[in-house]
Amino acid sequence: MPVKQIHLAAQLPSVQHTVIWSDPHAGSQIAFDSFARLARTAERGKFDFFFLSEGLRLREHKGRVHDLDVAGRPEALTVLGALSAVTTHIGLAATVNSTFNEPYDVARRVATLDHLSGGRAAWNVVTSYDAFTGENFRRGGFLDEADRYTRAAEFLHTAQELWDSWRPGDFRADAASGEFIRAGAGRFAHRGQHFDISGRFSTPPGPQGRPVIIQAGDSAEGREFAAADADVIFSRHSDLASGRAAYRDVKARLAKYGRAPEDLKIIPSVSYVLGDTPAEAAERAEEVARAQVGPETALMLMEAAWGRDLSGYDPDGPLPDVDPVPESVVTKGHNLYRSRGRDETVRHWRKIAEEGGLSIRELITEVTARPTFVGTPRQVADAMNEFVQSDAADGFVFSPNVVPGGLDELVDRVVPLLQEMGVHRAEYTGGTLRDHLGLRPARHHHSEETP
């Protein structure tokens, strides 16, 4: 069996506490140069794509804007539009919320990015239901949590109908005949539960036809949504055992949608720390963790889990002896505990702390700041490869700890090893992101070849 190729992606990390803004080499989180530097570094490493997250409300803690982590970021599609001018091959992936947008607007903006980049656009479809974020939008936070995936799926399908509303050859620009478009190009009508729209779509599809679709939810609904419609899923499983289980589960869902296992790439979000020796790498990992989880951050994350003020507790002391306050939300716009639930998170944390005799800060470091790959470049390359060859993933999206230089070591020291091993491309072989991901050309529902 041939070895699998590793699909590499990178993001410019933003509002997580794992971004070390105090590092002497840390640069701006908003200046375009930072984005260009990181995207070009990833392109130098022949990565599949560069990715930007989204958050449409500044986080708040105990009723005030959260001030310990990086805050503030640009609108993803706009920055990626600018990056299309300073990169040539790497895919450009934007997170765009399906709750606080409309299909017509998103479809035309993503299609525009696909044109500007020559076929390198991807859209990470995320959902939101919280009224907290909704307060920034004229439409408000109206959505039931139960509806968010039905709306997201219909939103995506509607966008795809809009991309398909221009058939191949509809854009003519034929000066000799005087025909600019074919009659009826871009005409669409969608009638559904969430959207009832019709008219003419303003933007012919870009080189990819349908841009690459990414899905990031790990719930059963999220996995099902990905199996039905996505090309890439960001998973959260960065250990081998749970990675393999999730991989099997997601890939098994594809067949009922008439899709093959290779049609959906599973890419966990990961981090790394290198050293010249294993001991040096471990030492650096400890330094990184100390910088990521300062005493204030440790207490803040504890308060978020406990749902109450814990400012009287010593971050270097034991866990609070008081009980959490159920249903109390002291931190808004932060989803650290969503996957596991509040009670389960607290039980889990107490258990880890008791077993290890950990302080608050040590516990938070243990549960939120453990890099996925720690070791020498050779160790990291081998571990990445094992992860992929043993079907725990198809690749990784790297989130560096420092902006904008945090990807340099990976690209300079690990990527060449992966290339030597024959599991990562030495040069780009295609022009579009679909090419990089090894995806077949987008299905076109109105294809004229259909009998």
Binding site: F32, N136, I181
Partner: protein, 406 residues
């Protein structure tokens, strides 16, 4: 002599509907970055203040108020904000001013999009908010309806403005919200204080708590204050209601005089709107006149070219702005004559691309420079700087300095 300001309005293959059929046109490329990059770098070679990009949330049509089924005009376009962003790294001085719809979009998204363009261009972003004039576009969103203009309405700008009054009122709120979001971060909000572990000074990031007649927005923005503080807001206005929108919220107003005398009239009407708005007299607004231009060095040739295009299209091209045909020297005469009415500059709409853009940069600009009426080098790196507009203090910083925080 006071230098005049020059901008170019880019759209499709030029403003004449048959422009795309000219031998030098590149109609098959209008959806590529390269096509627009060539045009904007040419405009920057001509030292122009800024370029604008048209946009609509519907396919282009030849009627102001209705969709059409024509297949012989340019159809299909890119999102103007993303297009502007893609051009930012390829240019270094010229302003980039996308048009966006404000009727069917979210003010929050508009604010962070333009702020991000300003960050990506290092302070060269502008924004032209535009209401929906085509009721059919509302069906693309399915969330509301907007007034359907009649054939009679569209013959008179005042009738259009009256019929769309509520959309203009809403646009006032959109501009206000966007401006407040741009100011919701003070310039020095990011502190990176390792001693206390704080990245942000939370006292310098503000909820905007806007509650209007049409919507409410809590804030703050997710995007730090843009380099210009407030990117340049430009409004195209043909009548009293849009004059009020421009007077209340814009830094630049585009007007459409048909003659020198008409420029006097329109600037007078705009000045009245400005006084009604209560905007302080010292708060500058730059007034630009829009002109569609067909330019050739040989006298009479431009008119002949337009005539030939009209015949190809089967109708005589007219526009909301005056249409000029002539030599670059004749246009320079006209601009300087009109400048005396109080206009700060002109937004020229090239009849065909790239021909009329090249005639502006290669003919008109040198002519104006010879007469001492146009810059010979860029003197600023931001769009506000090029337009002679100061970088505004943040409203919260001002309030704080006065001892009262809003």
């Amino acid at each position: 002599m006071t230098h005049l300001h020059l901008a170019v309005a880019l759209d499709g293959a030029g403003w004449h509907p048959a422009a795309w059929r000219e031998p030098d046109a590149r109609p098959a490329e209008i959806l590529t970055a390269r096509y627009w990059a060539d045009l904007v770098t040419e405009a920057e070679r001509g030292l122009l203040d800024f370029v604008t990009f048209e946009d609509t949330l519907g396919l282009q049509t030849s009627a102001f108020h209705l969709p059409d089924d024509r297949t012989d005009h340019v159809r299909g376009r890119l999102d103007a904000v993303l297009l502007s962003a893609a051009l930012a790294p390829l240019t270094s001085h010229i302003g980039l001013v996308p048009t966006t719809n404000v009727t069917h979009t979210e003010p929050f998204h508009l604010a962070i999009g333009i702020a991000s363009l300003d960050h990506a261009s290092l302070g060269r972003a502008g924004w032209r908010p535009q209401i929906t004039s085509r009721a059919a576009d509302a069906a693309h969103f399915g969330r509301r309806t907007t007034p359907q203009l009649t054939d009679e309405d569209v013959r008179d700008s005042e009738l259009i403005a009256a019929r769309l009054r509520e959309l203009f009122d809403e646009a006032h709120e959109v501009v206000e919200v966007v401006r407040r979001l741009w100011d919701s971060w003070e310039d020095d909000a990011e502190i990176r204080d390792a001693q206390t572990g704080r990245y942000l000074d939370r006292d310098k990031v503000h909820h905007i708590d806007f509650v209007g007649a049409h919507f409410s927005v809590r804030g703050p923005s997710i995007t730090p204050r843009p380099p210009q503080g407030q990117p340049v807001v430009a409004v195209l206005a043909h009548a009293g209601t849009p004059y009020e929108l421009a007077a209340a919220g814009a830094d630049v107003v585009f007007v459409t005089p048909q003659s020198r005398a008409d420029a006097v009239t329109r600037l007078g009407e705009f000045e009245q709107a400005r006084q009604r708005s209560g905007r302080p007299a010292g708060d500058p607004i730059r007034a630009f006149a829009d002109l569609v231009v067909f330019l050739d060095d040989e006298p009479g040739r431009a008119a002949g070219r337009k005539h030939r295009l009209d015949e190809l299209d089967g109708s005589v091209f007219g526009s909301d702005a005056a249409v000029f045909t002539g030599t670059p020297g004749e246009l320079a005469d006209l601009l300087l004559e009109w400048q005396g009415t109080g206009l700060d500059g002109f937004r020229l709409r090239p009849g065909t691309l790239p021909h009329d853009l090249a005639a502006i940069t290669g003919g008109l600009v040198p002519e104006l420079q010879r007469r001492g009426a146009f810059r010979t080098a860029y003197g600023a790196d931001t769009l506000r700087g090029l337009l002679g507009l100061p970088r505004p203090a943040n409203r919260h910083a001002r309030a704080g300095a006065a001892g009262a925080v809003r």
